[in-house]
């Protein structure tokens, strides 16, 4: 949340010449999202969803570029972006496994999912496997409590998880580097 301060040094990255906001992204926002709202600022969330979808994380440079594009100051954009947990400022593994830790999932054994992940992949929540394939995160209720324990793998919900089966499914996913979108998981 907003008041949990991010370490800015960790987020440091050198600038690159090629813009993060590609013509394609800008075009989609201009065509599809600007007309929906009375001002440009309101397109901030849709814009960063597109950036997340494209890169899997948000580079500091993307924040500056978005500010210019939305006619805001970089601090206004930073202020909003850092508030939302789904907008990650650090690179992750190709598959982000968001295990729900809220009450119904704890009642139904979310700990066993985490233990199995630790056993098979050797990672704790917040960590990424050495081959950059899997990042494990704990999140709050995913709104799928009838399927507890559950997890969101990138954009796909996995419910009624059997820990061993779930981990072997993850092992079978292709391991090529770089971030993925939901299409790879299907």
């Amino acid at each position: 949340m907003a008041w949990i301060v991010e370490d800015r040094l960790k987020a440091y990255q050198p600038a690159r010449n090629e813009p993060y906001l590609t013509a394609k992204i800008k075009d989609e926002v201009s065509r599809k999202y600007f007309p929906r709202y009375p001002n440009k600022r309101a397109a901030l969330l849709p814009l960063f969803h597109l950036i997340m979808h494209e890169y899997g994380y948000i580079a500091p440079q993307a924040i500056d570029e978005a500010a210019t594009f939305l006619e805001l100051t970089p601090s206004q954009v930073q202020d909003a972006v850092t508030f939302y947990e789904e907008f990650r400022l650090e690179k992750t593994g190709r598959y982000v496994v968001n295990v729900c830790r809220s009450i119904s999932c704890e009642l139904c054994g979310h700990q066993r999912v985490l233990e199995k992940m630790r056993e098979i992949f050797g990672i704790e929540p917040g960590e990424t496997t050495a081959d950059d394939k899997i990042t494990l995160l704990e999140v709050e209720c995913l709104g799928a409590c009838e399927q507890a324990p559950c997890a969101l793998v990138n954009e796909d919900l996995h419910g009624r998880i059997k820990p061993a089966e779930f981990c072997s499914q993850l092992q079978q996913l292709p391991a090529a580097p770089g971030h993925s979108t939901t299409d790879d998981v299907r």
Partner: protein
């Protein structure tokens, strides 16, 4: 009380194998959009009156009368917005997702009805970021609705074109609070606003705005079709109509079930959710973790909007019932709930930001065996300083945390006290704070 069969779930059979997604053509074939057609021939005032008469109360948590909320819009201020609350992040709540997974058009019809009645220009469906699948379903359903003139047309008798869009959140519970939602819709951090001004006067983009939950709007087509009197035949005098109940936790058949308001929790658990799993019933949360806990002797509590007054909980909330059996460690469960609030507090108000964080620390040390004798009273005192809306905080999150902790302490004191005592006897009280 006479429950007239599934109303909201009429297109969703009990048998999972037979469930399917209703697209536009399927929806029309099963009587869909007939209510909208009927409404467009009515006067907007008469539609509002119908909703007032039906006694429909908000399904998003607060139970505020829907029709009354609509009458708060100032007469001549335009444009007006409708924000549909599909943030659904309260632990234990998944009813809206289940409905949209199969029947997205029931929501769109409800939105179109509300938009006509209130002369709304743009309706935004604010959906939580984690609902990727549902966002795509709604986008597809909206494309169909635009194609068939449900949206993109002028409200009859006006120059106002009715639009509807999906707006995705990005992982913040507090954006379910109505003014946090509006901030998030405007592209800012989801910090709840100080009221007044109320959203009906100055909401989204400083214009008059109505905020309604998905299920509230999904009730509208049936109310139009069958009338206010019919709607009132279900439920109790103060809580009319059908309701979606989500049941999760220690039950054999967790899921979403529809019944009339006022049914007993025991009936819901035994008749619909397959009974308690792994032991006997011990405790349950009636409607999302903000509502507090029902005790072992409150198994037969009637689930309606009067539950708060009768059973010492905050209210019905989202009607997401979380069941715990007699082998559950309630201290660990309360720690889970409080960690949720500590994590999701937006940090604007000191009592909420600090109170939830400290209660989490205290519960951590109790669970770890380092609870101190005064911790029980300390938790109770922290609750008092945080909660009791209106007063110390901007929004209701702090009060939710207050009720959760307070009711656990009141209804299950021994679970906590026994842990503190045992450490005291062993003479290690005072050991480190986490």
């Amino acid at each position: 009380m006479a429950y007239a069969g599934p109303v909201l779930l009429k297109r969703i059979p009990d048998d999972p194998a037979q469930r399917k997604l209703y697209r536009y053509a399927d929806y029309i074939a099963t009587g869909g959009y007939a209510s909208l057609k009927k409404v467009l021939a009515m006067l907007p005032e008469d539609v509002i009156k119908l909703v007032v008469d039906s006694g429909l109360r908000g399904r998003g948590g607060a139970g505020f009368p829907c029709g009354t909320k609509w009458t708060f819009l100032p007469k001549d201020l335009f444009p007006r917005y409708l924000a549909v609350n599909f943030d659904e992040s309260e632990p234990g709540t998944f009813k809206d997702r289940y409905l949209i997974d199969h029947d997205p058009h029931i929501l769109l019809e409800g939105i179109a009805i509300a938009a006509f009645a209130n002369k709304i220009s743009t309706s935004y469906i604010y959906i939580r970021g984690e609902y990727h699948h549902e966002a795509k379903l709604l986008e597809a359903a909206l494309a169909e609705a635009y194609e068939h003139g449900i949206f993109g047309q002028k409200h009859p008798g006006t120059d106002i074109v009715s639009h509807c869009y999906v707006h995705r959140g990005a992982g913040a519970y507090i954006c379910g609070e109505e003014t946090g939602l509006l901030e998030s819709l405007e592209g800012k951090r989801g910090w709840p606003r100080i009221k007044p001004p109320f959203p009906a006067v100055a909401g989204a983009f400083a214009k008059p705005t109505i905020i309604n939950n998905v299920e509230t709007l999904a009730c509208l087509p049936a109310i139009v079709e069958h009338g206010a009197a019919w709607f009132k035949t279900m439920g109790t005098p103060s809580s009319s109509g059908p309701k979606l109940f989500g049941v999760s936790g220690h039950v054999n058949k967790p899921g979403v079930f529809e019944e009339e308001l006022g049914i007993k929790m025991s009936t819901l658990i035994e008749k619909y959710a397959g009974g308690v799993k792994g032991g006997k019933y011990r405790a349950a949360i009636p409607g999302g973790v903000s509502m507090g806990v029902l005790g072992t002797d409150q198994y037969n509590a009637e689930l309606d909007f009067d539950i708060g007054r009768k059973y010492n909980v905050l209210g019905l909330g989202t009607a997401g019932v979380i069941v715990m059996n007699d082998k559950t460690d309630l201290v660990v469960m309360l720690r889970n709930i409080v960690r949720f609030f500590a994590h999701e507090s937006c940090g604007q108000c000191t009592p909420c930001r600090e109170g939830t964080a400290w209660m989490h620390k205290i519960l951590n040390r109790i669970v770890d065996g380092f609870g101190q004798p005064q911790d029980f009273d300390m938790l109770a005192e922290l609750c008092l300083t945080m909660g009791a809306m209106p007063g110390t905080t901007i929004c209701g999150l702090a009060d939710g945390a207050n009720w959760a902790v307070k009711t656990f302490l009141q209804k299950f004191p021994e679970d906590f006290k026994s842990r503190l005592k045992s450490r005291q006897v062993q003479g290690v009280a005072g050991a480190g704070v986490a």
